[in-house]
Amino acid sequence: MGSRRAVAATLVSVIVFTSLLFANAALYAAGSTYLSSAVLSASQQRESNYATLLFGLSAYSALAYAQGYLQNHSFDCSTPESSYLDSLGGSESVGGANQGIEYSVDASWGYAPGSGEIGVRDGPAASQSMIQPFAGYSGGALNLEVVTNINETLLGGLPAYGVGGTEDVHLPILLDATVSLCTSALSELRESLSSLPSCNASSVNEALALLRFENPDLDSVEMGASAQQSPALDGAGRCVVQYWVTITEEGIQGVSGTFDWTALGSGSLSP
């Protein structure tokens, strides 16, 4: 009788502890799944956020490159503007690890001649806030189109994340207005100097003064010219006039601080 009780008690004990064990295993499995989900979700969120930052950094690099070029190279409005604007283009490939994420970024950019598109196409829209106030397309300014492709992997494995997109950014220089003013000033100057009464400095100065008087919109344009009698084989000589215009935009706020940008043009004629 006592032996049966002992066996029964043992069996009850086994059933109770086995139930406890299974219940605990179920809780443990649920907890592990929740942890995995939480970690995966946090990782994906971090990768997405970091990709947005990388998009912003890519656009920043493009703007900084363009600003450096504008600072160091004057725009010559007496030559086709395409070669100058083409030089603003560039590309870069960077890679590294940050925030537990291994990443690679391939970016390329170039002058955007009035695409009319605004903001980001395909990429994360939030990246535009990273480069405020240079984000988006701005009519008349220097606009760049930046194409960025990003690949990320969490250090040590999944999840992998890839995103690509195109965004418009700008530097607030008065590109269209300045180019237009420069070419028209150069044209007006050539016109004024084409019929000098005599080949000397006073005639040139009179022509310049008259041009300024008749065109007050050229106040912001620096202009100059010189006239020189060139020796000729027949002894008569001829008058060679050289002229130039310069327009400087000062204190432009760029991504790397304020900078100046100069547009200039020059020519010569023999009236």
């Binding site: 605990n24 295993a25 990273m130």
Partner: protein, 120 residues
């Protein structure tokens, strides 16, 4: 027989209790909460960078960046940073979750840190 029976039952009970204590769900729960808090801190950093912009982080004086980090902090989230070796004040003594991000902008290194100081 009875002693053997009690021995087997006791051994099984000890085995079960060991497994239960080893597979405790509370450790994972703590880690899940920690991951969520760290993720919240990380998101706060990206929100801050998005709100001020990269040009600001490159151009502003360290003290200006520290002020903006202070302004972006609130009762539950504290933001601070290190800008070119200059450390902003405001590191909390205790926190529930944390994250940091180092951004290099045209050679200037800015480290932004965030701490969750109260449950969210």
């Amino acid at each position: 027989m009875r002693i053997l029976d009690i021995g087997v039952a006791a051994a099984y009970a000890v085995l079960c209790l060991s497994l239960i204590s080893f597979m405790g769900p509370y450790a994972d729960e703590r880690r899940s909460v920690q991951a969520a808090q760290d993720s919240a801190a990380s998101s706060a950093i990206f929100r801050y960078v998005g709100s001020v912009g990269l040009p600001f982080l490159y151009l502003a004086q360290p003290s200006q960046i520290c002020s903006s980090l202070g302004a972006a902090s609130n009762r539950t989230m504290v933001l601070s940073g290190v800008i070119g070796g200059y450390r902003c004040p405001g590191t909390p003594a205790s926190f529930l979750g944390s994250s940091s991000l180092t951004v290099t902008i045209s050679g200037r290194q800015v480290e932004i840190e965030a701490w969750v100081v109260e449950g969210q």
